[in-house]
Symmetry: D2
Subunit: 333 residues, 4 copies
């Protein structure tokens, strides 16, 4: 059975998923929906049709699955349309930047009856697969404290994203770390306190937070500390700074995802990333595994992937972070 | 001029200061006040007199200075007595574990007119001296975000401290990191939110927190994230885990004080510490420099050392951390 | 087309390749040759036939390919038999521990006409794929200096390998690093000088070198420094210590393959490895990619894999290392 | 007793020693010999007399001690004159870049009868003081393998040293690592094999080696691997790259001296060094301790400092490194 796939959003992530899906046996990317020149370009590369929006994409093809990789705040319309049609859905994280929209997508998936997953990519990252195994094997004991830093250099809000002022570092970065913490600890968040600073980027004309600190308390009294800012100097050797720590009753774990062990001192110092690499013209690694599992999901195979309910839970925590920053109060979930 | 010095408290820190002071030219440690066998032992080693308490110590000698290195919660009586007598005072951190007591000591120093300092040792740590220089030189710009982790392995509450249940990891550890953050950033804290977990150690019969997370907001809207727990497994290669991070508008700085670059894989893996070492039978490094500056202070030389007012400010923040943990509310300072 | 595969040698590596091959679509592991109980056990797990040796295996099945994963010094007989029969061959590194035997295998492959590859696994390691890309892109410039450390803890010679006394740390470890250096630099070695220490393990009844240091000079005058010993204390957080460094005219590169960024402080400190992990019951990562490429090779697809000629070249360098250790002289290649 | 000190050579090291000596109680730097403007400048800063050469310096003052900190290859004349006069001598490493000259200095010291020491600064570095303590305590067991990398960025030969073409990276850097290895292991070297590359810097008009690899074998059959080059890109976060490793029969030790735990991401990434820092206008750390011990030596106090015989031994090894590079042969010592 050949699976025909459509992609909505031809940015960095849409392109990556399209390439990873297209290299699978019996999978074809047949249409790309993106009104910008990047959309036509990606479609041409893939030998797929270019469409202005998801409506045209859905009308033009009989699709098995659709990847929604639009900007953070623009997932809802495409995702709901795909889901209602019963077509398989892969939504880039965060599911939505608003709890109401996240629930609409969830409801559409339930109504449409098709399979769906959220691309929280750390679930496929071998580092965290390994940590998760230790936890499920009991080697960590009870999770007592978690701490997750996910920061970006100024390159991201200033030059990579055209839409930085329409999101925040919390929406752009914390879905990764909140999902990771919920998945690894298995706990339910009960309250959030957070602070945010809006100064440097706003001065430079990008009206968003420089960064946010948050403390999430779980129902068992344990706490997760979060930091996400995007004002690291560009001299930092990685475009992102990603560290996760966990203290359990039987073991403590630290994961560094930004320094992947390849230090390259060229014109500047860089930590070369390699969680997804190209080998013999083919993507290997995290992106390839996500694509493989999405295809498996579309074929009805048993696949472990982040659910829409998990996507809603993450959105709820990050929404509470924003509410706390604004109110200065502890927000109960 | 020979300086006669007394030491109150013959634990790890009292012993270290005594040794470092005793090796200075024209400085003598003449008396040790500690009712335990450790007191008599240290006195014998130093050729000093042993006393049961600070009252006897002060009565028996004409002292230029006294080191107060009793347990965290037991500084007040000795410090006030020394200060009122106009004798120079070196108080181990924290100044006190109660704002009222901290202010009593501060008032006694003002009344007595003698010199005084708090042994926030990071002020002498070459790592932080170097960071501070970058800040005062303007290379860091405005401080935007700070994060400080200072944790201990279970060895500390379970086997090193006999009085762990009478303090908390916040009182034992955060004075270091709070002082560091206030000193480096030069900011005034305005509010505190904190969470604490009381589970593992309490189950084992040591009735105190396992650890505390806190967010301190400063008057300029910037934030400091703090973590201090003491439940790291003993397999951690250092008895403490100490990391400080700062993001400024012009530079980001990270300091690791637990991995000092000497990895020793013997029966277990250890990161050997060397901020104070013994060479040719003499202490060299941080402890020696603190001792040198205390002697300088006693001689009226210009010395840059942490003041009693700074000690009070640190105690106020850590007290607010405890208040927030208890109330679940944001505490205004 | 379904590929029937045989495996010779049911140790750690044979098992890993068998599992990775068996999970591929249209690939079956049909026979395992190993006279020990491990052979029967692996065969049973895979639903394959158990055989005492490669002769029986070859006689019993019509095989598309065979994995030879016997101990280092025991590759020749099976590899030659497989190759002569024109069956596809995957040989675990080193190709052989003797240049003559390596050339016999190479000749058998040429004679038999089947495809063949050597499992120098670093060729598939994303770290080195990334470094290689920088080199072929010209970002590194000319390679000037290389240094490769690959060491093991005493666990390997003392408890993991039953046949440690029949090999050396140079034969067991240096094929990895020599292949890596030849592949990345593209240079031809011209001379070798090496030293070896035979003391600690010999005292403990394992009559082999504790370790070997070597300097390999290439035809362009550049040098590679090698270190391989297997007497690291077991407290080292990884069973192997693997570091590769390269200084080029335009960039310097450092790769750490032993600390993969997951620090686990449980009963002891461990750096958890994850270059191959199990996810949803399936191997993902390096082993899966090698298996995939071996299947591709058997199907005649264009695959980039280490050749027999490269296997011979590596064996020649490591043989020269041993010759230099014994003679105390520089050995010309 | 006030000690009058002279300094020969007003470069980076001469200046550092002068400052560190001048801040000691009862020590005065009274004369600086250096024909360049740097000499007059340093003398003026210190309130000392400026001299064209060591002859004038010695004639003009009644000196207790002299620091010889001329370029590597220019120690002999000044050191011999100082030593013959029975004046205390502190020679910067290496003692000389020629065994004959090293022995002349040693003989002059013996003849003159004054105290002397070589400034192998790692002997005072707290990292190595700590490692040495483990060795002397027996925690390391027998030393089996050593490896020492000391490299510089191109800044050093291209812009820092005016005399790079008159020395080599082996003479400039290996004295540090050879001394360290001899001191820590207590072994006597018996043979040396080394390779050198002369390409990149020579092309750029600086006619010296880019770098040198060496293997030193000791009388007990153990080996030391050395690497010293000075062609690291300037993007490397430290001007030097300094790593020392030791594998013993009971423990393995790794020391990193280039990353001292303070990471500063400003215009570029830098690892800020702090083995010697300025605090309250005073040098603290390694340089201060060397100065203190030189003053102690001049006063006849018991001081543990590197001897002239050790300086000769180090020069002999580094001379053999050069001989081996030139001859391509193993050199017996």
């Amino acid at each position: 059975m050949v699976l025909d796939i459509g992609v909505v959003g031809a940015g960095i992530r849409g392109r990556m998923f399209a390439q990873a899906l297209g290299q699978l046996p019996d999978v074809r990317v047949v249409g790309v929906a993106d009104p910008t020149p990047a959309g036509a370009e990606l479609a041409a590369e893939l030998g797929a049709a270019a469409h202005a929006g998801h409506e045209d994409l859905l009308a033009a093809h009989d699709l098995a699955g659709v990847v929604v990789a639009t900007p953070d705040f623009a997932h809802r319309d495409a995702a709901v349309a795909v889901a209602r049609a019963g077509i398989g859905l892969l939504v880039e994280k965060p599911l939505a930047t608003d709890v109401k929209q996240a629930r609409e997508i969830e409801a559409a998936v339930e109504g449409g009856g098709g399979p769906a997953m959220v691309a929280f990519e750390n679930r496929w990252n071998p580092r965290f697969v390994t940590v998760r195994r230790q936890i499920t094997d009991g080697a960590v004991g009870d999770v007592l404290f978690q701490c997750a830093h996910l920061n970006d250099t100024r390159f991201v809000p200033e030059r990579m994203l055209s839409w930085a002022a329409r999101t925040t570092p919390a929406w752009f970065l914390m879905p990764h770390t909140v999902d990771l913490a919920l998945w690894l600890s298995g706990r339910t968040p009960s309250s959030v306190y957070a602070t945010g600073l809006r100064r440097e980027l706003a001065r430079d004309g990008i009206d968003t937070y420089d960064g946010v600190h948050a403390l999430v308390t779980f129902d068992d009294g344990t706490t997760l500390a979060l930091q996400s800012h995007w004002v690291l100097p560009e001299s930092y050797p990685s475009v992102f700074d990603f560290r996760y720590e966990l203290v359990g009753s039987r073991a403590a774990v630290r994961v560094d995802g930004s320094d992947e062990g390849v230090h390259f001192a060229g014109p500047s110092l860089q930590w070369l990333h390699h969680s997804t690499v190209e080998r013999d013209g083919r993507l290997v690694g995290v992106a390839a595994e996500i694509a493989r599992d999405f295809a498996g999901l579309l074929r009805g195979e048993p696949v472990t992937a982040p659910t829409l309910a998990e996507g809603v839970a993450v959105t709820a925590v990050v929404a509470a972070v924003h509410e706390s920053v604004t109110s200065g109060q502890v927000v109960r979930l």
